[in-house]
């Protein structure tokens, strides 16, 4: 084992892992109670209130098909929304960077995307697009669009003034300034936006599913959470919540790794 990977394990893997185990132990005793013989130190909580970790594990094993299907469906909704916001966000950022007038006129409405509670407009999305995949992808799209626009616009317009002068002195055309300066300069900013958006898109998809979940046999994590909380299947609910978190983490990590590979040249001294 190289010292590099050993360092990775001891510095970045072990500490969170240790904390996770500590958390599981604390959770277990909180739910199950602490007793020494006849002496009750903490009587624990009822299973319908906080299930033990072992019960959650059991429920996850039993419902694994349901959970995997739900996770994949939610992931596809989130990724569709994320992909759309990356593409459309890039186009909007490009338009903003080309015309200050358009940017000034439209930016307040871009902020609207950031501030409107998705819960409030979910009924409208269902009204216009019906229940199902499209509505969920749109919900993920709306939530994850703004960071791409904001970071992308910044990356295309916030250029080192001396670099602009350099291009001006060598009589660069508008097209050369765009392809050789603005666009390369914007890449790290776009990636920052994509990192934020990737996590948001999962939230958007899950919230979308609360309202527009897939009817019938197949449904996503949001609908599963909605359904199980109504049926008091509390252990399965916990399992679904954990799946949502892991899904968000997985997408965030995938974008992070892709960004690291892509940005090797841009990143200073790393």
């Amino acid at each position: 084992m190289t010292s590099h990977s050993r360092r990775f394990i001891t510095h970045y893997l072990l500490p969170p892992l240790a904390l996770f185990i500590l958390f599981l132990v604390a959770w277990h005793f909180y739910a199950a109670g602490i007793r020494f013989g006849e002496t009750v130190i903490w009587k624990g909580t009822p299973a319908y209130f906080v299930p033990r970790p072992s019960a959650v594990w059991e429920a996850a094993r039993e419902g694994r098909e349901k959970l995997v299907t739900a996770s994949l469906l939610t992931a596809s909704g989130a990724l569709a929304g994320f992909g759309a916001s990356t593409l459309i966000g890039a186009v909007i950022a490009f338009i903003f960077s080309q015309s200050l007038l358009i940017q000034r006129a439209a930016y307040p409405y871009a902020i609207f995307l950031q501030t409107v509670p998705i819960v409030a407009i979910a009924p409208l999305i269902i009204l216009w697009f019906g229940s199902g995949f499209t509505a969920i992808a749109i919900s993920a799209f709306i939530v994850s669009l703004f960071p791409i626009i904001a970071n992308g616009t910044h990356g295309l317009t916030a250029i080192d003034p001396q670099a602009m002068e350099l291009f001006a002195i060598h009589r660069a055309t508008r097209w050369q300034k765009l392809t050789k300066l603005r666009i390369p300069n914007s890449i790290p900013h776009f990636v920052t936006g994509m990192r934020t958006s990737s996590g948001l898109s999962v939230i958007g998809a899950i919230v979308g599913e609360f309202f527009a979940g897939f009817p019938g046999e197949k449904f996503g994590l949001g609908y599963l959470i909605y359904q199980t909380s109504g049926q008091q299947k509390i252990a399965l609910l916990f399992a679904a919540i954990i799946c949502s978190t892991l899904l968000g983490l997985a997408i965030f990590a995938a974008v992070g790794i892709a960004a690291r590979l892509l940005l090797r040249r841009w990143v200073r001294g790393q």
């Binding site: 080192d160 001396q162 002068e165 002195i169 060598h170 050789k180």
Partner: protein
């Protein structure tokens, strides 16, 4: 005429602040001129007027024919391009790709960075980044090279070494150089002529001819004549400063 001449250049900003007042000077082909003064005396602004990045409110400008290049305060390298690609940039912008790679290699050789051709800027020291910046400026064979305090952020030892390298390049390529600095000994070491500028508004206070012959060796800095001249220039700067303060 291949000289650089300015006639009564003045620049007043829209807010009424006068940045430059009646600046006239002339420097012949292949000469080395420095603009020396404290910050705020308009020397960088004057350089940008010569580069036609800023339009003066009054006065006129005559530039030598041929290419112009500019070396900025910061190296201003594009971090996503290798050293080679950074040096090549001006040739790409003017679509002058014929013999580009030989020309780039030649420049990298001259600044001693041939073996760093494929490195990225962040892998280089500040002094090496500045050498890349110089190579990029000279790759187009400019007839006029404008330098805006290019070595101001470097340590003294690196700065002196780069001064010597710049002179070697100048003697080799015979371009006209206008060098902005607030460092007295740097101006004296490099230049044939130094214009001392004073602030509020920026104007030429005094002109010094520097008599030392080229090539100038580093021992020159230790000579009595050199120290004497530096003293005279420092006095001139302070005098001009007091003069400006008295009229403010």
């Amino acid at each position: 005429m291949n000289s650089l001449t300015t006639q009564s250049l003045s620049l007043t900003f829209p807010n009424g602040v006068e940045a430059l007042h009646d600046v006239s000077f002339s420097c012949g082909e292949s000469s080395f001129l420095s603009l020396l003064g404290p910050s705020g005396c308009g020397k960088s602004t004057l350089l940008r007027i010569i580069a036609e990045l800023i339009k003066p409110t009054e006065g006129s400008l005559q530039r030598p024919a041929g290419e112009l290049s500019f070396v900025f305060q910061a190296p201003t390298l594009l971090p996503w391009r290798t050293v080679r690609k950074n040096v090549q940039l001006p040739l790409e912008l003017s679509r002058n790709t014929r013999e580009a790679s030989e020309r780039v290699n030649e420049m990298l050789e001259l600044v001693g960075l041939r073996q760093f051709a494929n490195a990225y800027p962040h892998e280089l020291s500040g002094g090496m980044q500045m050498r890349v910046s110089l190579a990029r400026a000279l790759v187009t064979r400019p007839r006029l090279l404008l330098l805006d305090e290019p070595f101001g952020a470097l340590d003294d030892i690196t700065r002196q070494r780069l001064n010597e390298e710049l002179l070697t390049l100048w003697q080799r390529d015979k371009f006209t150089a206008v060098f902005v600095t607030h460092n007295v000994s740097e101006a004296v070491f490099l230049s044939q002529r130094v214009l001392v500028m004073t602030p509020r508004p920026g104007r030429i206070h005094e002109i010094f001819d520097i008599p030392f012959a080229y090539p100038r060796e580093r021992q020159l800095r230790a000579s009595a004549e050199f120290a004497q001249l530096c003293g005279a220039l420092s006095n001139s700067i302070n005098e001009g400063h007091e003069h400006a303060a008295a009229h403010a």
